[in-house]
């Protein structure tokens, strides 16, 4: 989404005297050797963007010599910039996987039905990835998403059980859902308070949250799953399609969440502050941004999304699935990191996170279809995850040095 910014504008300010711009282009030329060697491969991709950049350049009247030197530098810089767009790489990997599996199992893997099943089976992950992306962009982490999901599902179902159980009306389901969402947002906000006011590292706050919310869910249910989720909920949201379309509700709702919050992240002040805080919290503070308040909102958002995921899970399974979401946090965080978000904060996109989440899902479905042992998926994802983070560390060091 932010990749819309990638147009390469080369603006020579006319106000600068000739001697000045000469000095500057020298500086640029010196920098170019520092660019990583991998660039050459990337340049081909970037060339279509470059001419449009030239068209945008608003200040012609630049000496041709400095122009040539600058053009070379600009291409290299654009190449280096593209490397930082990790979601490009992730997207390439995803496409290769899909093409490969479609080729190996023609007519099976690429059917709409497969994608629809894959989407439904991952709907709650998709929703949680939305919140987790915001949190990781602030250089935080939320390990509690799966536990908050269960908590929210338990609270929502508890209300429904007391007001009609399996035959509960839509009004009851509505109130129960709102209670579930509020529970999620509340759990998130409490974690946000822990991170900002108690100044405990997010890893620890949300590890504590993970344990405590799981325990609370077991306390409320007495250790065994609530069953008898409202039939109306299960038959529509959980298993049904949006009327008149082949689109499952699970997919519609989760993609709606992705799109709405993806747009908020990319185009609003709230999103900008999220990036700024992850990039340099002290600078954000000095710029007058209420950093603590924003962080609390971000953790509350992650909780809210986990709450929504809880409703979706309840609708799909018809029970509270107490033990079914213990590793959701790992799935979700893996998706965000594979999608190119930096654990140092400030870098990443919603689109990248969605692609990052899709890779393990596609791999699993594909391996199943071509009849390979699906445990290979775990081995591959584990290795790729470590590789992705090591690339992130490398980029971080590269920039610290600059």
């Amino acid at each position: 989404m932010t990749s819309g910014d990638s147009e390469v504008q080369r603006d020579e300010t006319p106000a600068a005297p000739g001697g000045d711009s000469g000095g500057d282009s020298k500086v640029e030329a010196e920098e170019t050797p520092a660019a990583p060697g991998g660039d050459s491969k990337v340049q081909a991709d970037e060339t279509p963007a470059a001419p449009s950049g030239n068209g945008v350049a608003q200040h012609p009247g630049v000496p041709p010599a400095s122009r040539g030197a600058d053009a070379g530098a600009a291409v290299l810089r654009a190449g280096r910039r593209l490397i930082t767009f990790s979601e490009t790489w992730t997207l390439v990997a995803l496409i290769i996987l899909i093409v490969y599996f479609s080729f190996r199992a023609p007519g099976k893997f690429d059917s709409l039905n497969d994608f629809s099943l894959m989407g439904s089976a991952n709907a709650w992950y998709l929703v949680m990835v939305v919140g987790e992306t915001f949190v990781i962009l602030t250089a935080g982490i939320d390990l509690a998403v799966g536990a908050v999901l269960v908590m929210a599902g338990v609270v929502a179902d508890l209300y429904c059980l007391h007001h009609g159980g399996a035959s509960a009306s839509w009004a009851v389901i509505g109130v129960g859902s709102v209670l579930g969402l509020a529970t999620g947002a509340g759990c998130g906000a409490v974690q946000g308070l822990g991170v900002t006011k108690l100044k405990v590292p997010p890893l620890i706050v949300t590890l504590g949250g993970f344990i405590a919310f799981t325990g609370a869910a077991y306390l409320i249910t007495g250790g065994s799953d609530f069953r008898n989720a409202p039939n109306r909920l299960v038959n529509t949201i959980g298993l049904g399609n949006v009327p008149g379309t082949p689109l499952p509700w699970l997919i519609a709702i989760s993609f709606a969440a992705v799109i709405v919050f993806g747009l908020i992240l990319a185009f609003t002040r709230f999103g900008r502050y999220t990036y700024a805080i992850g990039s340099n919290p002290e600078a954000a503070r000095r710029a007058g941004i209420a950093v603590d308040r924003h962080l609390i909102k971000v953790y509350a958002l992650s909780g809210l999304m986990a709450g929504l995921a809880g409703i979706l899970s309840l609708a799909n399974f018809g029970t509270t699935t107490l033990a079914g979401h213990s590793f959701d946090n790992l799935t979700v965080i893996t998706g965000v990191v594979l999608g190119g978000a930096s654990l140092f904060g400030g870098r990443g996109t919603m689109l990248g996170s969605v692609i990052g989440l899709a890779i393990p899902a596609v791999l699993l479905t594909g391996l199943t279809i071509i009849g390979l042992n699906t445990y290979w998926q775990d081995v591959a994802i584990g290795a790729v995850l470590v590789a992705a983070v090591s690339l992130d560390q490398f980029r971080h060091r590269l920039r610290e040095r600059a």
């Binding site: 910014d5 990638s6 147009e7 390469v8 504008q9 080369r10 603006d11 020579e12 300010t13 006319p14 106000a15 600068a16 005297p17 000045d20 711009s21 000095g23 500057d24 500086v27 640029e28 920098e31 600058d70 530098a73 600009a74 810089r77 280096r80 910039r81 930082t84 908020i264 185009f267 609003t268 002040r269 709230f270 900008r272 990036y275 700024a276 992850g278 990039s279 340099n280 002290e282 600078a283 954000a284 000095r286 710029a287 007058g288 941004i289 400030g346 870098r347 920039r399 600059a402």
Partner: protein, 261 residues
Amino acid sequence: MTDPMPTTVPVLEARGVIKHYGHVLALDEADFSANPGEVVALIGDNGAGKSTLVKSLVGAIRPDGGLILVDGKPVSLTSPLDARRHGIEAVYQDLALAPDLDPASNLYLGREITLIPFIRILNRRAMRERAMTAFAELGINLPNIGAAVGTLSGGQRQSVAVARAVAFASRIIFMDEPTAALGVIQRGRVLDVIRRVRDRGVSVVLVSHNMPEVLAVADRVEVLRLGRRVASFTASQTSVEELVGAMTGALEIANGSGGPR
């Protein structure tokens, strides 16, 4: 440029400012004044209280005593936002930029131009265009306006931080060692920018250790020692030796050529 007349009301003034850090007295009734449209250098040895004084004047810390006056009226600066509302901006030594955001986003950080009141959609085009104008006005040359600030050279980052302060300051800009990390060419350019800002009628306070630089760009020099102002010189009538003398206390004449307030 402007002759500081004795009757001029300082745009920003500190009177008898006191600040304790535990048992350490960082500012011992320190005075300071900056007149409209002048470049004042604030110098002093390490630990003389320069940073503490600057932080008090930009609202980053609250002094324990004394007065701060803007255009002759006492004000209370409880946060950097307060100071900004009075047209006081600062370029911090660490620049306070978000490395993952582009120059325009950094320029408008915390002051974004937005479109719809509640949702606050960023008006990127307006911010980018105005940022480019702001950079051009200062003769700042950024080859790629869309690149993250973290990918820029040290001099370019410095330029972004300075442009941000200049774009929003209506009264005075504090610059804490703005040239310390720069090469010779960029150093000259920052000094140029300081002169341009001054010519637009905005005062500049330059905190620096570099005496020749101070004498080259400042109209006046105020010297802090042990938390007090010990001297105030007109830059054109003093020398490096005299400044160093005042800083170290070797020159124990109460006031240099600056005269009493």
